[in-house]
Amino acid sequence: MPLNVPEADYMHSGHMACPGCGAAIAMRFFLKGLGKETVIVLPACCWSIIAGAYPQMSLKVPIIHTAFETGGAVASGVRAALDIRGDTDTTVVTWAGDGGTFDIGFQSLSGAVERNENFIYVCYDNEAYMNTGVQRSSSTPYGAWTTTTPGRSWKRMRKKNIVEALVAHRIPYAATASIAFPEDMVRKVEKAKGIKGSRFLHVYTTCPTGWRIPSEISVKIARMAVQTNIFPLYEVEGGTHYTINYRPKEFPVREYFRLQGRFSHLSDDDLAEIQAMVTEDWELLLGKAGAVRP
């Protein structure tokens, strides 16, 4: 039975994304859910390139490219201007990478959602500054190689929990999504569209180039991240009400790590330590959702 997602597409072929790019897939699903009445604010990230170099453009909805750290701020201005012009239908979206969300863009994001600006902020997360050549961000997971955490200096800081940081602002809606679960993602986009105020989507998007994996397993890796509870699918409404959308069979994390070149230096002991961290985080999340471990 075909996966049930809306038919229409709002993207063109011929863009410059790497083969197998998860971010390209994510945008495709996102726009399927959101539709044509959309304007996109696009701070510096891989999508700045995928959107097309002058004079080309790869989307069927308008884009305003902006400086790296301004995703939340520019969207605030766009929203204010559209509202004052009498257009309250168009959805304003910020589409940012993990760099422009977790790090340099965090201030303007926090400022915008503290004001409960009426927009959807989507962070598509490939877990490093990929556009500039795979440097670490605070979204890079524990254990990963990047060009700024090379060799024995692999990243020993845990991935920042951006959803929790956003939830602390008590925004109306925050959710995680994955390119391997299109129906879930589209459902969340459609739901977010109908909510007013600040809405945040954290989308897991595989990067074959930066993660050192073959392009054809891009979606499989995304699926494994959810199946191992490394990237759980859940929603938080009003900053307090947690819903876990998918309870997988809890596969061990080992194979997920072993398939990716960026983790090839990790020993079995490291993997065991990581497994404990993943389990701990998952149990914390279960607690917040008021759920019980089976």
Partner: protein, 595 residues
């Protein structure tokens, strides 16, 4: 309120603003691997002796296209109703879904499709080749003979079937009990065969003399008269009056007789005939006991049939062989010797030897023999030597000087079953068609060309150049299925009569399933290697390079933009695509290769 004079002109505004699409970039030039739609062969269709296109049948059933699904069966097997009732379904043992949760109930679905067609009196639309000059005589109106006639007619040949009984069907009509194969189902299958133009002459006892006449009147003779002589036990007392030959007993019952039986009825043998006799005895009031010389797991009867017999409370004695039968009162004393296992043969069957001295005497009201059959006439036995070609299911005697003779059915197949008989009839038809069109030397290579997957059974559709030709012969194993796209679900349970109801009548034990059950079960099919339009490829393409259209398979790859990432191939749940090296330097053209 002065009027403003005209302001000085400003230059036109050029700002950084993109206004054309990226479609000018033919990113297909990036590619060093190229995906392609390529359907492959599901293992069920390889295991099926009739080579039925099972993956497609399930897909059509799932879509509610019952007539098309039924016609898909008929392209390879004229007996969907019969097989749906009595087939031993080797397809289900090969079903990949069995490694995930439970195999698809292919046989139940086949029966459903035949039932639905019969109830609605649907006529199939099957194509037939242009008429050919040659004529073929078919000796034996059982499943092999009728299949041969059916397929030869499909290929354009005039056929005459000669059968000794008053009604055709062979074992189907005169052997298998009605509680397994209701008469109406058989009659419908045969009626459709006749509707294709097959001429059946009943009541004709074929002799060597008649065969010589046929040599003159026909270009070929297909001999499928089956085994009509039971093997003898070779023990004292077997010729006593009243010792029943199991096969003859079944025939007697199929004539409509329902003798009342009482007391212990011992059936010697372990094949389907023995089981059928035992279950018939049960229904007639007797207490059946099966006595078999090897172990239960060595019995050649179909596993389902053995299970049914056990369910009906039929007792089994393993590792016993009859030594003598002596009369005793109104019945008999049957002396059974113990056997023991000395080892296993290369097929895992027990090799047994008698225990010295250990014997048991049983008082039985009746003894039935069912230890196997053999050819009754010498001309039924397939020859060997120069000019004789053994194909997969038939033996062809191409020696010049007379019309060639092809032997099939139980005479030649390893497994004695309906579907194997169908396979032999089909292979015979194909072999003869090749012989008539291209000559002797083309027969064996021609047969090889139309085998399904890496197996040894022919497909008529492949032979006739249908869409199955374009599939790769690679057989898809379970580990090539992307199981992430499927959820565990139970196989439907076959509705059956309750035990008390079963043994009281000769009504069919298996009841019909509903359309919704059939669809639900067909939906569980992985459609291994076949495109079922799930559109995963289309959905996951980051470059929107998969375009839906109206020509099969319903979509094509836009190689101008495809970067060869391979996601479509990886996310196809059923391996209906391949990823190959890009050979075209420009990456923009080239026809996809054939298999």
């Amino acid at each position: 309120m002065n009027e403003e004079k005209t302001p000085p002109a400003v230059s036109p505004l050029l700002l950084a603003r993109s206004h054309i699409t990226t479609e000018g970039n033919k990113t297909g030039s990036w590619r060093f691997l190229r995906p392609r739609y390529e359907e492959k062969t599901p293992p069920c269709s390889v295991a099926c002796p009739a080579g039925e296109d099972i993956g497609l049948i399930e897909e059509l059933t799932n879509q509610g296209m019952f007539k098309e699904a039924w016609e898909t069966i008929l392209r390879e097997n004229p007996f969907p109703g019969v097989c749906g009732s009595v087939c031993y379904h080797p397809c289900e043992a090969a079903c990949n879904r069995g490694e995930f949760d439970e195999a698809i109930a292919i046989s139940a679905i086949e029966r459903f499709l035949a039932d639905a067609a019969r109830r609605n009196d649907v006529r199939p639309s099957l194509s037939r080749s242009a008429p050919r000059r040659e004529k073929v005589a078919i000796v034996g109106g059982g499943p092999a003979g009728l299949s041969a006639a059916y397929f030869l007619t499909m290929l354009g040949y005039g056929c005459d079937v000669f059968d000794g009984m008053s009604e055709p069907g062979g074992v189907l009509r005169w052997g298998i009990p009605e509680f397994r194969l209701p008469l109406a189902i058989l009659q419908r299958d045969i009626a459709l065969i006749e509707a294709q133009g097959v001429r059946i002459q009943g009541g004709v006892q074929v002799s060597e003399a008649l065969m010589r006449d046929m040599d003159g009147d026909y270009d070929a003779v297909f001999i499928a008269c089956g085994y009509t002589r039971s093997r003898s036990l070779g023990i004292p007392g077997e010729d006593l009056d009243g010792i029943e030959d199991g096969r003859r007993f079944l025939h007697h019952i199929r004539l409509g007789n329902r003798p009342r039986l009482e007391g212990l009825q011992v059936i010697i043998g372990g094949g389907n005939t023995a089981i059928d006799v035992a279950r018939t005895v049960r229904r007639l009031g007797g207490t059946p006991l099966i006595a078999y010389r090897r172990r239960l797991q060595d019995m050649p009867a179909f596993a389902d049939e053995i299970a049914m017999a056990r369910d009906e409370g039929i007792a089994l004695k393993e590792l016993v062989a009859p030594l003598a039968i002596t009369p005793h009162g109104d019945g008999y004393i049957l002396t059974l010797g113990q056997m023991h296992m000395t080892g296993e043969d290369d097929r895992g069957r027990a090799i047994v030897a008698p225990d010295e001295g250990a014997a048991e005497e049983l008082a039985a009201a009746q003894v039935f023999t069912a230890i196997g059959e053999e050819a009754a006439q010498s001309w039924c036995i397939p020859p060997r030597g120069d000019g004789v070609v053994r194909l997969n299911a038939v033996v062809c005697d191409f020696r010049s000087g007379r019309a060639c003779r092809v032997f099939g059915g139980d005479l030649t197949t390893d497994t004695k079953s309906v579907v194997d008989a169908v396979a032999s009839g089909k292979e015979a038809a194909i072999a003869l068609d090749i012989l008539f069109r291209e000559g002797l030397d083309a027969v064996e290579p021609g047969i090889r060309e139309c085998l399904v997957g890496d197996g040894r059974f022919c497909s008529m559709e492949i032979y006739r150049g249908g869409t199955r030709c374009h599939r790769s012969s690679h057989v898809v194993p379970y580990d090539e299925i992307n199981a992430d796209y499927f959820q565990l679900s139970r196989r439907i349970s076959q509705p059956r009569l309750l035990m008390e109801e079963r043994v009281a009548t000769f009504d069919a034990v298996d009841l019909k399933i509903s359309a919704s059950m059939a669809i639900r079960e067909a939906e569980r099919c992985f459609n291994c290697g076949l495109c079922n339009q799930c559109d995963n490829c289309y959905l996951f393409c980051p470059d929107l390079s998969i375009v839906r259209d109206t020509t099969p398979p319903g979509r094509h790859i836009d190689y101008d933009y495809c970067k060869g990432c391979g996601l479509c191939v990886a996310e196809c749940p059923r391996n209906a695509m391949v990823l190959e090296e890009e050979t075209d330097e420009t990456g923009t053209g080239g026809e996809p290769g054939r298999r």
